[in-house]
């Protein structure tokens, strides 16, 4: 299934050693660069310079490309007057409630399909067929069913969240090592205790992976939903800026969306490491 192969970005900065770099080039770059962090700044700085140059020489009209200084000013303004904070909280709350609802449904689905062959034979194919619909494809249907209010955002995130959680839970249950089951049998653990002591802990890594995917996808999809129909939230802020032809607002919001996406990723990574401490 596609969702299982969706990978989170892995922070991996190992230096490649498959192709030999001429030693002179290395030394030259290191002299001017000092360290890796500065080297990483070259590209964004040159983009910024090019951007500034384009504005100063008016290659592109400012309505289409506002100057970096204007964008920075707008960003500071939006932060200072609390607009950004307000819309961010609304957006985050939508993602959290959507993932909570969808994740819960996904857990039930995943455990049902994982624990019973019959259930997985009966609902599995239908579930997989529905999972193949791109998550945004549900939006027109949901608009007709639940309107364009808060429910639309929460339900569309919930649908997107249920799929990775269910699939990863299912996978987790299927992959429980047989010796655990045998041990449980020998020790006479059954019923609710069997679920609590054996199934749940061994499925937990899969569940956490599922929720991590659900969150990072939910955050991305929410922006799309808010762009389509919303009167508050970060997506709305962008639509609003676009309608006023104030691209500085749009660009500031893009930066904030990126920063929050990054923080969300870091937070989830930390959380999963903390929850799965016993795996290491």
């Amino acid at each position: 299934m596609p969702q299982l192969t969706e990978r989170l970005p892995i922070s991996d900065h190992r230096a490649p050693n498959n192709i030999n770099v001429p030693a002179t080039g290395k030394i030259f770059f290191h002299r001017i660069a000092g360290n890796d962090f500065l080297l990483g700044l070259y590209l964004p700085l040159s983009i910024l310079l090019l951007w500034q140059a384009a504005v100063i020489n008016s290659w592109i009209p400012p309505q289409i490309l506002p100057s970096p200084r204007v964008v920075a000013g707008t960003l500071a303004e939006l932060v200072a007057d609390g607009t950004l904070f307000e819309h961010t909280v609304i957006s985050l709350w939508r993602v959290i409630s959507g993932v909570a609802i969808g994740g819960f449904a996904g857990l039930i689905l995943g455990f049902t399909m994982g624990l019973s062959r019959h259930a997985s034979d009966i609902i599995g194919p239908t579930f997989r067929a529905l999972a193949l619909v791109p998550k945004l494809g549900w939006i027109p249907l949901l608009i007709l069913l639940v309107g364009i209010d808060e429910a639309l955002k929460v339900v569309s995130i919930a649908i997107g969240a249920a799929v990775p959680v269910a699939l990863n839970t299912l996978q987790g249950v299927r992959n429980i090592p047989p010796r655990y089951q045998e041990t449980a049998k020998v020790l006479g653990i059954s019923g609710i205790n069997y679920f609590r002591k054996i199934i749940f802990p061994s499925t937990l890594p899969g569940i956490i992976t599922g929720f991590t995917l659900a969150f990072s996808f939910g955050w991305k999809a929410l922006i799309a939903v808010e762009l389509m129909a919303s009167s508050e939230g970060l997506g709305f802020l962008m639509t609003w800026g676009r309608q006023l032809f104030q691209l500085d607002i749009v660009m500031s919001t893009v930066i904030v969306i990126g920063v929050i996406g990054f923080l969300l990723d870091r937070f989830l990574l930390l959380l999963s490491n903390r929850l799965l401490y016993w795996l290491k």
Binding site: T126, A129, L132, L136, P140, L227, V250, G258, G261
Partner: protein, 253 residues
């Protein structure tokens, strides 16, 4: 798959369809929620007047053009980032920073810069797909097994040969995985582009039109078409894997 499994798999959707139709005919469901018979009618109508064919072709065409551009740029970018320590340090941090931004956040900017044009839609689709493809290409080349590198050194193979015989085959599974992900992203992005900056053509636009006219049957039809195309995309990606990944390529575990 055995016959009993297929029958069991069909049981659930059939039951839902029958119950849905029955409840609708009873009048227990609101009239706005269409019924399976109406959805079937919508299918028949739109198949016979060629609407489905038209919109699906346009969507698939967009998706394929965007994907093709993304494969070219993404694979080159991945090779560039992984080709040397310097390019890695120069480009990878910026690449990762851009990856954090939800792709849909670019839609307002793209639509200001390129208007509501076909170019804008294709740029968006390509932009979305570049990330998984470039990342997987990069990781594929970065994870060449040490054993291979040592073998290359010991055997003193010429550089063109070592790229052709060692590095490309060992990175291939990862590159293909990136392209597969790219295909899924491309289909999602196509629907997104058609919903958010559409021109009235494509499967997404078909659904949007149905929604605006309160034609629930047409919207349901769109969802089914989406699922079928999604299935075809996964089928295509499994074929891709079989064709391009020779046995024995990839990393030894």
């Amino acid at each position: 798959m055995t016959y009993t499994k297929i029958i069991k798999g069909l049981l659930f959707p059939l039951l839902i369809i029958i119950a849905w139709q029955h409840l609708y005919d009873n009048g227990s469901l609101p009239q706005t929620l269409s019924a399976p018979s109406y959805i079937a009618d919508a299918f028949y109508e739109n198949l016979s007047n060629g609407q489905i064919f038209l919109h699906t072709t346009i969507s698939l065409q967009r998706m394929m053009i965007g994907l093709l551009i993304a494969i070219i740029i993404g694979v080159s970018l991945g090779i560039l980032m992984s080709s040397s320590a310097i390019t890695n340090k120069l480009f990878t941090p910026t690449f990762r920073a851009f990856m954090q931004i939800s792709a849909f956040a670019w839609i307002p900017i793209i639509s200001v810069w390129f208007g509501n044009s076909e170019t804008a839609r294709i740029i968006f689709i390509a932009f979305v797909c570049i990330f998984p493809i470039a990342l997987n290409t990069y990781e594929g080349f970065m994870r060449t097994p040490v054993a291979y590198k040592e073998a290359v050194k010991v055997l003193n193979i010429s550089s063109t040969k070592r790229i052709r015989l060692i590095f490309i085959p060992s990175a291939m599974p990862s590159i293909i995985a990136g392209i597969e992900l790219g295909m899924l992203y491309a289909w999602l992005a196509t629907i997104g582009a058609e919903l958010l900056m559409g021109n009235g053509f494509g499967v997404g636009a078909l659904m949007l039109a149905g929604q605006e006219l309160f034609r629930m049957d047409v919207v349901f039809m769109g969802v089914v078409i989406c699922s079928i195309i999604g299935f075809m995309v996964t089928l295509l990606s499994s074929i891709l894997q079989k064709v391009f990944i020779k046995t024995g390529s990839g990393a030894i575990r």
